[in-house]
Amino acid sequence: MNSNKWVVNYFSETLLEIDPLIDKTIFYKSIGEFTLFCYLLKRNDLLISDYLNLINKASKLDYKDYVGGIYIKKLIAICLDINYCNNNKEIIEDYSSIEELYFISIFNSINCNKEWDQQVLEFISVIKKEGLDIKSLYHLTHLIFFSSNFGFNMYWIKCDNQIKRVIIDILYLGLSKCKISQNWDLLNELYLCFIFIEKEFITNFSQEIFSSFSLYKSKYGWYLSDGNNLKFYEDNFSKLNFKHLYSIFHTTIITELLITELNVKRGLLSI
């Protein structure tokens, strides 16, 4: 089964059928991450009709009790080409997270380079004192996703070269740690960061990315987030709980985004 088909089946037959109250955070995170993924595909004219159908279904959900709901609804509206008025924050100083800063910047077309500078500075200041663990590596990947607008703006191209070199060296350190610990989810996020900072990195990594799939791509289309027990998870898939499934779902859409980026930036897909 290909990955698109698995995502469609999982989303419509499991996620939308589940009671959100089982784990409200994971439920809305799943919807939010998928709508962001579709928004990025839409931006490249690569949003397939099967995903659009899922977005239509997601548009019927109630988001009023969820803090990120206004941003999910805006992403859905863009995917569906409909107007959506809301009370988006427009004042940058009000942002409470780097995600919110990102959404404020893209939905209001505001240049937030100064804020991203601040975030990069803080990040380096903290890891200089504390080193980097898995949490801070995830923070770094998201900082690069958002500051680069997923490779769509000039922030990292115009960034001071020494600072860029520091970040790239840190990404290399993370890469080697993730390979040793077989953390495929974070590994693929790090590959995306390299591509978003400098698309020339594609030629360095393409081959190793595609050849590593044999370790964690299931015959059912999904990707294992970490470890080397692919067959165990294939055999026990029906027993996995919501958190396990979320883990697999997240790695699958991250890997699909990585494949899309590789193909788009290598010119294999038209944009």
Binding site: K29, S125, H142, V166, H244
Partner: protein
């Protein structure tokens, strides 16, 4: 991840790239950017804790384990 990236590894990266202090970094950012604004060395309010960032790992099961034996936390740990 079995081993985190240590403070000394980060310091080595900074040194290799000619950065010896956070003041150096601040200066570079200010010099590089023509946009108005102040870069403070003090932490802003932006928190890394939010609705998208999280991390999660599947248990690295050995073949004798059964899913029923696993504690709930093993499915992934979300940042609060």
């Amino acid at each position: 991840m079995s081993k985190q990236i240590t403070q000394s590894e980060i310091k080595a990266v900074l040194k290799k790239n000619g950065i010896h202090s956070i003041d150096d970094l601040t200066k570079m950012l200010i010099e590089n950017d023509s946009a108005p604004g102040i870069i403070s060395k003090k932490s802003s309010q932006a928190s890394p804790l939010n609705w998208i960032i999280s991390f999660w790992r599947l248990p690295n099961l050995i073949k004798d384990h059964r899913l029923d034996d696993l504690p709930n936390e093993l499915g992934g740990e979300l940042l609060k």
